[in-house]
Amino acid sequence: MSADPASFRFVSTNRRVREDRRFVAGHGLFVADVALEGMLHVAVLPSQHPAARIVSIDASAALAMPGVHYVLTGDELAAATDPLMNGLDTPRVKRHPLAVGQTRYAGEWVAAVVADSRALAEDAAEKIDVSYQPLPFVLNAEEALKPDSPPVHPEHGSNVLLDRTFVWGEVDKHFAECPRHLSFRVTWGRSSTVPIETFGVAASWDPWREMLDVWASIQMPKYPDQIARALRIPANGVRVHQDVDVGGSYGVKRGIKQTVLVAHLARRLGRPVRLIEDRLDNMAGGDAHGPDRIFDVEVAFDDDGIVKSMKMKALDNAGAYAGRAPFQLGKPIGAIVGPYRIESVQYRAQSVTTNKAVQEAVRGFGQAPTNYAIETAIDKVAAATGLPRIEVRRRNFIRSEQFPYLIPSGSTYDSGDYHTVVDKVLAHIDLDAMEKERDRLRATGLLAGIGVAACLEPSGANSAFEPLLNEKNTTTTWMDSCRIVVDGLGCVTVTIHNTSSGQGHETLVSTVVGEVLQVDPDLIRVVRPDSLACLPSNSPVGSRMAIMLGGAAFHAAQKLKAKLTRIGAHQFGLGEDKVVYASGGVADPAGNRQLGWAELVNIAHRHYHLLPEGMEPGLETTHVMQVPTGGTLPKDGRVQMYPCHSFEFHVVLMAIDPVIGKPEIRRYVIGHDCGTVITPHIVRGMTLGGIAHGLGAALLEEFVYNDEGQLITQSFMDYLLPSAHEVPAVEIVHHCTPSPFTVFGQKGSGESGYLGAPAAISGAINDCVAPLGISFNKLPIRIAAIGDAIAKAQQPNQGQAT
């Protein structure tokens, strides 16, 4: 822990976000802005069939077109490269950038055309004649589980990628002891983050230097390593330019298949090659869908609403290939009881392949769906016991004095004060007044209701879910790093070693380094070297940058401060503990002597004879940071997942016009505690953006396949994104419970809002329609479904609708 928050000069102050200047001027550097000399362009040809054998591909008409350079097929690419990495130990579920021998979902890329322009490449793709022999296919996860379902990967033997049951604590005993049980099913529809910038990648190959240069819109851990492995080249022959701005990602921009495809073409053709997905490429075949999950939940509780035990089965539809998707069932294990003192849990995680597009990491890595299931359980316990929903939550919350708190699945929660956050939110909204407003709305003929959700945002990601679900994976570190260099003129440059998709890392790092060194953050330059000049780092995933990049910057700055202090003390002939560092200078308070920043820099850079014996000249420090807590392999199905746990509490007032079924949010309040906030503007923006994203998942967004296996929501005309009309003004109530595990007490906030908004909005809708005897148990809850269900419920003798 560092100094007391009251002494912060820059941390937690309302400073501008330095990245913003270039973006408001239209001078970001996005991948589509990278124009390489002699660059060629790629268009891809998607499969029209959910499953089909590729009988033949005739590209002669395409190749005959002027300006068309090449047509690549899956067979050539598979011969020249290794399959893409799987997270689980499923070696027979092979994944290649282009389909090999058979297609496994409608939209899967079958061939790639290279031409002088993208438009020409698209024209040529239309001339490729592929002969298919359709095969049986399966779309539904429960169907895919059945032994007689069509196997998506026959070599694998079944569609089951993962089927693992964990039992943490005395589940059977607790179920037997508890007087009341209830069970239910909820379904999280297949949506995603859908950034406004699609994925794109450009690559060039220099055969004389044996170097592959890559520019990409990427947020992928171990990206250069994965490229090198797939292309069978040394990792130090891959140079990823990490200063490319990423136009939104929120988890999904993992474009490894696109990169391997383009890198192979650049090597094959000896020219720079670029693929920028168009929206259809992205939505149907970009392999960027999110969780598609059925939860069967059973809880054991008593008449006071205390939940003692939970059984949860999560069946996830991974799509056609494995990738990292099944891990999204693993990460929520680190907060499987949410903010509650549930004593034991049985958790069955199932992941199956189907003939849908491939799933990728989405904001929260499976946590938002899990939170939706847990919060639905709490609402149902409240309904069953007749207790208020907020009261049931309060009774089950972990109490502030119980932290650090070990949950049954092996993670220790760092800190929290859930009751206080709830109290502050209720004081802010005046719950009585909100209930009166709800009643007033009901009296006008509207359906009105209130939704609440309380949940955690595990943050500071490690990858403990990898060894937990795949024993061949023994990874126990997920480091991040920072280097600080002070040049001979005294200017500070900090290097950071991964990409950004809008999280404001430059502002974070300059604020932290400025805080420690007590120099103006605005004078600190922050740069991203290419991957060959990088220290070991991972990517900005799992809500980890404030903790891990902020932590690495803090420690590197502390080392620099210590070096400056030693240099100063040596000039005074004193021990380091006898001098004082302040605002970049070192002073001897007793002798009334001091040396300023410029003088210390001058000694370090030019006066070796004045340096303490054995000290390296110059001013440069580095720090490679291990994730706080954890660092060991799982034992007995238990592991320490992420170190920090932010808390959020949502309250939503909703009104629905019963005639049209349109849900309208009348008020949205969130209580948010992510410990010490380093940059208030950034945390606020992420929370508001997360709520908007959660609103989309709850009400609008879904990748829908029809019975023929075709994706029918493949443009923004039918995959609906929330606009400024749909997203309400959100009120945020702050609270700060510092984490004991981080340098400033900070926790993560990159997934905030999204983790609880779907549960809160779903709860509000169900509260609205409860008087009609109906409820909704599947997200998204679209207007048409609401309107139909209300109409059906209001007709006498038409039975139950959901």
Partner: protein, 169 residues
């Protein structure tokens, strides 16, 4: 075909295929990369530019159709290299963006609104930006940026091109 387009106050010429969109022409032929491709079917608004001051989708317009109009792109708003317009600066003040991809279109939409309206209500601001999708911010700090810019423009009594003589339209 050879096309002359008036972009950010300067007439520029290029040899363009008739089927080329204004979006692609701005980026590829005039090297104005601030206009971004999002959906390329007219929904997301990332490619917004102004034609005679009105926001349009440059992905839904052929470049040749823009002949005869005054085209304003994001590069046309900053008064000088390294400087920002009042609206651009307001987006920095409230952090009305994160990844920056939708931002040029969003700022042009706001610019068009504030050329016509001195004291926009929240509803008018929401309406003006509702055709531009942002996935990062949830719009809260964007609405604040436009409100903040409106206040500053009003206090500075900044002249506005499209205002009717009586003031707000």
């Amino acid at each position: 075909m050879m096309v002359d387009l008036r972009i950010n106050g300067t007439v520029r010429s290029a040899e363009l295929e008739p089927r080329k969109t204004l979006l692609d022409a701005l980026r590829e032929d005039f090297l104005l990369n601030g206009t971004h491709a999002g959906c390329e079917h007219g929904v997301c608004g990332a490619c917004t530019v102004l034609l005679d001051g009105e926001p349009v989708r440059s992905c839904l317009l052929f470049a040749v159709q823009a002949d005869g109009y005054e085209i304003t792109t994001i590069e046309g708003l900053a008064p000088a290299p390294g400087e920002l317009s009042v609206i651009q600066d307001a987006f920095c003040e409230t952090h009305g963006l994160q990844c920056g991809y939708c931002t040029p279109g969003m700022i042009l939409a706001a610019h068009a609104l504030l050329q016509q309206t001195v004291t926009p209500t929240r509803e008018e601001i929401v309406e003006a930006i509702s055709a531009n999708i942002c996935r990062c911010t949830g719009y809260g700090q964007i609405v604040e940026a436009v409100q903040f810019a409106a206040d500053r423009l009003r206090i500075a009594n900044t002249p506005r091109a499209l205002l009717s003589p009586g003031g707000s339209k």
